[in-house]
Every structure is written in C-alpha cells, then in structure tokens.
C-alpha cells in the first residue's frame, strides 16, 4: 500500500496506491485517524492509483465518512479503478459518497459546497 497526504485549496487530499491487504490495515487506520484529516473541513480521497482494498479497509473508509459527515464536513472520492469501484458499490458507498473524476473536480465541487 502506498499512502500520502497533501492539500489543495485548503482541503486535505489523501492518496492511496497499490493494494490494501491484511498487513496494511492498521497503518491505514492510523493514517486516517491523523489530526490533519480529523480537523480538515473536507477530505478528498484519491483512489486513482489504488488497485485493491480489502473489506476492513473499506470499513475504515466508511467510518471516516460517518465521522466526517456527522460533524458537518464533506468527503469526496476520486477516480477509483474498476475493481475498487465494484467493491465500493457492493457495500453501498457509491450512493453515499460523491465521486469525482479528478482531484481538481472534487476540489471545485467542494468549494461550491457540494
């Protein structure tokens, strides 16, 4: 698993790459629980380089979505690959979280309050 964070227009961008397997789950959970992410007004999760994530990783993303939206903040997903898209659809995340084609599109949507 590859993991990095950045900022665009004051919004945290979380980029995941590679594959999230059983051995990566704790690291992902720790990363998503960082202060930067918890305090950001919005979070963009860039999945364009992510090949695969297991059920626990999806559960972690769902927890992040719940926590973010329950505090009135926003979250966007960016450009998932077909398998990742399929997995997110299977658990119903696609109907809950807005999906953008690029980080720029997501940032623009968030700045409009979408």
């Amino acid at each position: 698993m590859e993991f990095s964070t950045g900022k665009t227009d004051g919004i945290i961008v979380l980029k995941l790459g590679g594959a999230v397997r059983a051995g990566d789950n704790d690291a992902l959970q720790d990363a998503l629980g960082s202060d930067d992410i918890r305090k950001s007004k919005a979070v963009i999760i860039d999945l364009s380089d992510l090949e695969y994530l297991n059920s626990r990783a999806i559960g972690t993303l769902m927890s992040l979505w719940k926590e973010t939206t329950s505090s009135g903040r926003k979250i966007h997903i960016v450009n998932p690959k077909p398998l990742v898209e399929r997995l997110l659809k299977a658990v119903g995340m696609y109907t809950l979280v807005p999906v953008s084609r690029s980080v720029e599109d997501a940032a623009a949507a968030l700045s409009k309050g979408e």
Partner: protein
C-alpha cells in the same frame, strides 16, 4: 510334570465352544437353514455339530433341490471336498476353505450348488463323519426379500424427498413474497417479528433447496452442463457480494486471484455453487476481528481455490464427516447463521462429477483452510446415488 494324554475319540476341551463361535461367524454372513447329515459311524460327531449349530442359533430345515455345501468336520480338506463334489480344479470350485483350525475343524464352502447326494459323496470322500449342509434356495429367498425391502425403503425415501422439496417450495415462495410485500411503515412495532419470520423462511428455503439438490444426486438427475468457465470471475463475484457481510461482522476479507488462471471446461453454475459454499462457510465460522483469505492459483492442469479462515478449526474426526450428508461439525456459526449440513456434501459430489477434489486442512483453534481443485477439462458424468 506328568505328560498329557488324549483318549482316542474324545473331543479336545473347549472344542464345542470354539465350534459354536466358528459357526456363529459363518451364519452371520450366510444365514439359512441347515441340514445336519451324518455318515455311518459319525453319530458322536453329528451330536457335537448339532449342539454347536443349535448354540449358534441355526435352525434345522428340510431338504431342497440344491445345496450349498458348508461342510464342517474334522479332517476335511477344501480341495478334497471340492474335487469330490465334481470339480476338476479343486480351488476353482471352492469359495473358501480352511485347513484344520485350532478347534480341529475344517470349513469348506463350495462355489456352486449341488444336489444333496453330491454333497454327501463329497463328505464321504473326505471321510467327514458329519457335516452341515446349507440350503441355498432359502438363502436366495432371504436375499430376495432383503432386496425387496431395500427397494421399498428407497422408494419411500424418494417419495419423502419429492414431498419435502417440490411440495414445500410452493408455500415457501408464497410466504417469502408475502413477507416482502409487507411495508416496514405498516409494521414498525412488529419489525422484530417480521425479521424472525424472514430469517426462518430464508433458512427453510436454503434447506429445501439443498434437499432438492441431494434428491437430484440420489436420483441421478444432477447433470453437468459443461462450458468454458472463468473461475476467477466466479470467485470475485462471490467474494465481492460477501464484502458487506464481512464488514458487518468486522471480519477482514481478502482475495488474491492468479492472473494466469485460464478458462476451464466445467459447469459454471455448479462451480459457483462450490465457491459460494466454501467462502460463505468461512465467513459463517470466523469470529469478529478474524480473517478470511481467498486465493486462486493456476496449476497447469486446473485451478486451485484456497479459502483460509481464522475460525475455530475442525477436529480431526470431523474433517471427513463434514463432507457427508447432514454431516455438520460441532463448531457453531459466529453470527447466528444457519447450516443445513448438506452444502459440503453437495460440493464434494459436484467436484467428483467434475473429476476434481475438495478437502480441508485444519487444526482446532488455528482455523481451517479449504481447498478445491477444478480440473481444466471437467468430466460430463451424471450424478447418482
């Protein structure tokens, strides 16, 4: 120490008891009425045999046209008796025979039936003073009766399965549809009861479907429709559909599919049944916080599916039993899921019909790993009982 002597004509100690045991063993395998025939000078031997036979529960019966010779007597040699009964090749006509055993008796069973006088001639030829002759006609009749009874039992079983599967499906479907039509808003107070009903209808439906499959296996109507089959796609479909259940149970579900896996010739519907069963079982028995890992690997002559879990494991005694019909193991599911005890039996039959294999490796407390090998060229055999 004084030397032991044996008076001529007296039986050795315990002989009657030993003879009784030998005859009891025999009558279990070959039940039937016995004639006790005595040759001149063999009255004492006949009395011994009669007492032994009576103690073994044999009944005396009347003469019939043909007899299967069971000659039990001192000094009888299998080959001699067979030859005397008309066989040119002694061993070719003897089903079994023994040399003198510890009781001093020999047991000879002829392969073919013979008129009684032939049997008596055989006894005479081998100097058997007395012998037991079994009526084959009666044994055949008993076998016929047993077969008739068995056929009746099979017909009853088939009828039961037919009722339990086809006739139960219709009311079940109606119940399921009716439950689906009840709007949640209409029944907020009864939601819990409705959920119980839905779960139980689903359970009954699963049981009836499994029984129907077993019925098809018994009847030989469980046919395969062989077609090019993408095992990886089937595995992915199953695992993806179970991700919500894994998240709900807080189980890590991982899968890794070998990109080298080629399409195989198999029945895709049945392969899906096997994959679904194994993966669903792993989720059923894995506790919260556990791991289910699903992998495929191309082996050159087929695909190996491996499903490993961190469930309670299976005790050695149950590792074969779980593949038998209604052979549920002792482990409990972790989320209240139901098990009919037929799923893995059906899986094994499907795998056998494909010329494949399914097996489990497990250590109690250390989880289980199920393997299923799908050969690249599945057979087209039909199922039968």
């Amino acid at each position: 120490m004084p030397k032991k002597t044996r008076t001529k004509g007296k039986k050795p100690p315990g002989m009657l008891e030993e003879a009784r045991k030998a005859l009891t063993r025999h009558v279990k395998v070959h039940p039937g009425r016995m004639l006790i025939k005595t040759l001149p000078g063999g009255k004492a031997r006949a009395r011994e045999l009669k007492a032994a036979a009576a103690a073994a529960g044999w009944e005396e019966g009347g003469e019939t046209r043909n007899h299967l010779a069971v000659i039990v007597g001192k000094g009888v040699k299998a080959e001699q008796a067979a030859a005397a009964a008309g066989g040119t090749d002694a061993y070719g006509t003897v089903v079994w025979g023994s040399a003198e055993d510890e009781t001093g008796l020999c047991h000879v069973r002829l392969k073919q039936t013979h008129p009684l006088d032939t049997v008596l001639r055989a006894m005479e030829a081998v100097k058997c003073e007395a012998g037991l002759v079994q009526s084959l006609a009666e044994e055949k009749e008993r076998t016929r009766e047993a077969l008739k009874h068995l056929e009746h039992l099979l017909a009853t079983r088939d009828e039961f399965f037919s009722i339990a599967t086809h006739d139960l499906r219709s009311p079940l479907t109606t119940m399921k549809l009716s439950l689906a039509m009840i709007r949640v808003d209409d029944a907020v107070e009864n939601r819990e009861i409705l959920d119980i009903m839905r779960r139980n209808v689903a359970r009954m439906e699963a049981l009836v479907n499994d029984m129907l499959e077993v019925f098809r296996l018994y009847r030989g109507t469980f046919a395969l429709n062989i077609a090019p089959t993408l095992v990886n796609q089937i595995v992915e479909d199953n695992v993806v559909s179970l991700f919500p259940n894994a998240i709900e149970k807080d189980i890590t579900m991982d899968f890794l599919l070998d990109e080298e896996v080629l399409p195989i010739n198999a029945d895709p519907f049945r392969i899906n049944q096997v994959v679904s069963n194994i993966v669903t079982n792993a989720l059923k028995y894995t506790p919260k916080g556990g791991l289910v890992n699903v992998q495929t690997a191309w082996r050159g002559d087929g695909v190996l599916l491996t499903v490993a879990d961190t469930g309670p494991g299976i005790v050695p005694d149950e590792q074969e039993k779980i593949f038998e019909s209604f052979g549920k193991g002792s482990a409990e599911t972790t989320g209240g899921e139901q098990s009919t005890g037929l799923g893995l039996y059906i899986c094994r039959r499907i795998m056998e019909m494909h010329g494949g294999r399914i097996w489990v490796e497990s250590k109690p407390g250390k989880g289980s790993t199920f393997h299923a090998f799908f050969p690249k060229d599945g057979k087209t055999s039909e199922g039968n009982g």
